[in-house]
Symmetry: C2
Subunit: 513 residues, 2 copies
């Protein structure tokens, strides 16, 4: 090993960086330039497809919304009004899927943060939905609106997060019927990016659409032609769409906004214990919902959602980031591509703490999703405890892992200067490249600079407190919150949003939205 | 979410498993059935190849062994006897590489643990080379022979480890000149699998070959036709082969044993700061060594070793498991395949403790190596602190990660029963599959059962002591050592090994072997 260089003096770039805050990658549209992995053969994809078509043709999906049943009947589905069972033949499915745009954009109030969904684009979203929140300073607790605002502020601060999901944590200190209004207003105040609407019922979805339109200064009609928000329709697997979900989906599609239909198909629980069968079920349920979006509004943006994992075979507890979950993430991509649909996946884990298990489970599912060419990765930052907790430390570890992946997805250049023959020539055998001109010209930007990773030697690391990555993450989210700055918002827009929220809160009262 | 099943009674299988020890995957030959990833295009591979050929043709490699220089001169190389610089033209390189077997086997004393190296086969090796050892009970300390024996016992106990490397930890309580004899004897006593020979000089390599031949009851000639051991030749990058390495390589090749030639090309230190140039250098150096194996003995097994990572751009410290390291692991596979050579890679990390950083860095490099179709993964279990420490807890976490990968590499079946149409039909919408016959028939073996992962809910996990994965790993290596059983060894063979060690120890004395 050659001698180490003398410690460098702090460069102007170092000083600039300290002033600029935590070093991180710039905001960028992430593109996956590599060929997708294929875990099953084309024939196997067809076998899964065929089984899913038999599910739709022979078994049907129960739709707990008479209005939706009638819409599907009018579109050619075979319906049983007594049971709500709706059957689709494969010709009808193929015909309706043909109108889904393979690629679409979502434009938030800051147009620089426009997302492209489909093709080789990859977008990372903040965790959404946990009832609880955890950090090492304040412990594990039910989520509040203050936590919610902190979490979306962190998402805004870190460029690797491209969108917020639907409620990073449930703000349970706010009334259940109107908290979505506070959440949307916070999304539009603390961040300037795309968010997911709550899709439990028509009202909540419409509020999310209307408030984003206000923030963008667009009419609903204008925004229908230039969508901004997404929603996630979680099917009640197996084979059931409830009324709230159906109504949320219809509202989104009517307004030209994106609906991501995601069956939650835990093998051994809501799905058969075999991966092939669980994926056949996922495929049937996801395509059913996507067909509905096109029945409502042909050409409305829609996303194929895959979320298939397994239970613990001993206890029935959900497991994530397993080998089966990673395979499902790849194969779901194979299925989505078969239909030319944008694909949503997730890198979850089932750890109770942001530890090595949380990291390796997340990595397994993340690689599966990326190799499967997912276009949207929901819950990509902050998910812990199988989704029961939004974790501050895990959020930091996730940003690090997402940034690693972003850099992995940039293939190296191989121009003459990159191939560096002259640099190789100029260093003698047994020498070193520390001081070479080729090195000095590129040294400061050649490599990814990590967020959490600590590469000091053991002694220096121990002298600095011997903190593991989880502990280091605590200081990083604290620093990020201290450095966070609200994105500018036109006061007139803020007033209009306030007025909308006040009016809707009045309307909603204690009733359902 | 459907209701959880009642906790199952402990089944006969559960009880059998408890008696059988820590649940783990069976020993198996791991095959990677998926297409390799390509991070660079075929044209880019050619550009790297071309640069590496220019290095060999125009710059040359310094060989600090006059005997080796003469061997290469006789084979057609252009040599400068004053400087030891050896130049190879690309025609000579191609001609010599043509005799390397694309696939070979290594057969240890237990023929059930025969390894296939090449094609789609993937073999995992224990960490090798650290001067220090760490576990959470005894702390960080210089390695001893007792530690060495424990580490190889753990490797033997866990089926995911296919071979031991060269000295899992340096037993620094033994004399430097003869400790390789104790290590080989321990390898043949505590394990029954393939090991790597120490390649620092001819004597150490020959001892490793001779002792394995004794254990197998073969002559050296018989073992040359049916190889058993490997060595790793670490080039003194840039562009230098020292005498000890050259002599070790020659001894292995002469005896038909496998030489893995691995430049250690840390970008910015021993290599240029750009990935393309570092890989060109790696390629030149690795191919140079492999050409030498074929000059010595055409058809001798040889392996293309890739170990390219980067330094910390601030301190010059080595970094591993970085995005650049992961890309290098993929592209090295593209290069090895260009020449039809078996490929060795490594999933390292630079963490100081077996934490989340250790896990995500290992995962980055592991996925790169697997997607690059590595055939041998050295340091796959137990590597920590950039190779300065063999870690007991990391070894356990690594076994878990390797087992995850082994299962990911088994694509799901899609026969009619796997597609499960009847199972899907028999569960009503909104129902669950916990009690379905299709589930019950497969439940106990359907999913990977983890080693370290804890999927209990937060309350149960906290009640059990709130241990993170690193802490749980401590109990697991302790249990594994308690459950470990030495593989049987014919007492006559043991005696013969003892006699060999005694004789050689006498010969070596205080001098160099």
């Amino acid at each position: 090993m050659p001698p180490s260089p003398r410690p460098r003096r702090r460069s102007p770039r170092d000083r600039a960086q300290e002033q600029a805050g935590i070093p991180q990658l710039p905001w960028r549209s992430v593109v996956n330039p590599y060929a997708p992995l294929e875990v099953v053969s084309a024939d196997q994809v067809e076998a899964i497809h065929d089984t899913s078509m038999r599910v739709l043709e022979e078994l049907g999906i129960e739709v707990m919304s008479p209005r939706t049943v009638e819409m599907l009947a009018a579109a050619g589905a075979e319906v049983d009004r007594a049971t709500g069972l709706v059957r689709l033949d494969r010709g009808l499915v193929a015909e309706r899927l043909a109108t889904v745009p393979p690629v679409f954009t979502l434009t938030p109030r800051n147009p620089d943060k426009r997302l492209t969904v489909g093709a080789n684009h990859l977008n990372f979203a903040l965790v959404s939905g946990p009832p609880n929140v955890h950090d090492r300073v304040r412990g594990r607790r039910p989520g509040t609106f203050a936590d919610y605002c902190e979490l979306i502020s962190l998402a805004h601060h870190f460029n690797a997060v491209h969108m917020t999901g639907n409620q990073a944590v449930a703000p349970i200190d706010l009334p259940a019927n109107s908290r979505h209004l506070d959440a949307y207003r916070a999304n539009l105040t603390y961040t300037d990016m795309v968010y997911s609407c709550t899709s439990i019922g028509r009202g909540r979805a419409l509020d999310g659409i209307a408030m984003m339109a206000i923030a963008r200064g667009l009419t609903l009609e204008q925004m229908a032609a230039d969508p901004a928000v997404m929603t996630v329709i979680s099917v009640n697997s197996p084979r059931r769409f409830d009324e709230a979900m159906a109504e949320g989906l219809i509202a989104m599609a009517e307004h030209g906004q994106a609906a991501c239909v995601t069956p939650f198909t835990l093998m051994g629980a809501m799905s058969p214990v075999t991966l092939a069968a669980a994926l056949a079920q996922q495929n049937a349920e996801a395509l059913f919902g996507i067909v509905l979006t096109q029945v409502v509004n042909p050409g409305a943006p829609a996303v194929y959602g895959g979320f298939t994992s397994n239970v613990d075979m001993r206890s029935g507890a959900p497991a994530f980031g397993t080998p089966e979950n990673a395979q499902a993430n790849v194969i779901s991509g194979q299925l989505a591509r078969r239909y030319g649909l944008p694909y949503r996946s997730t890198p979850p884990n089932a750890a109770n703490v942001a530890d090595a298990q949380a990291a390796y489970e997340t990595q397994m599912a993340l690689w599966g999703a990326v190799l499967g060419h997912a276009n949207v990765l929901l819950h990509a930052a902050g998910w812990l405890e199988g989704g029961l907790v939004a974790s501050y430390e895990k959020l930091i570890l996730d940003i690090e892992m997402l940034q690693h992946m972003m850099e992995f997805l940039r293939p190296p250049a191989t121009g003459a200067a990159d191939l560096g023959f002259e640099a190789l020539r100029d260093v003698a055998p047994g020498g070193h490249f520390f001081g070479a001109a080729h090195t000095l010209e590129r040294y400061e930007t050649a490599f990814y600079q990590p967020l959490v990773s600590d590469w000091r030697n053991s002694e220096a690391w121990a002298d600095a407190g011997a903190e593991d990555a989880t502990r280091r993450a605590t200081a990083l989210w604290q620093r990020a919150l201290a450095e966070y700055r609200k994105p500018p918002l036109d006061p007139a827009v803020a007033e209009e949003l306030d007025a909308y929220v006040a009016r809707r809160r009045e309307q909603i009262g204690d009733g359902e939205p």
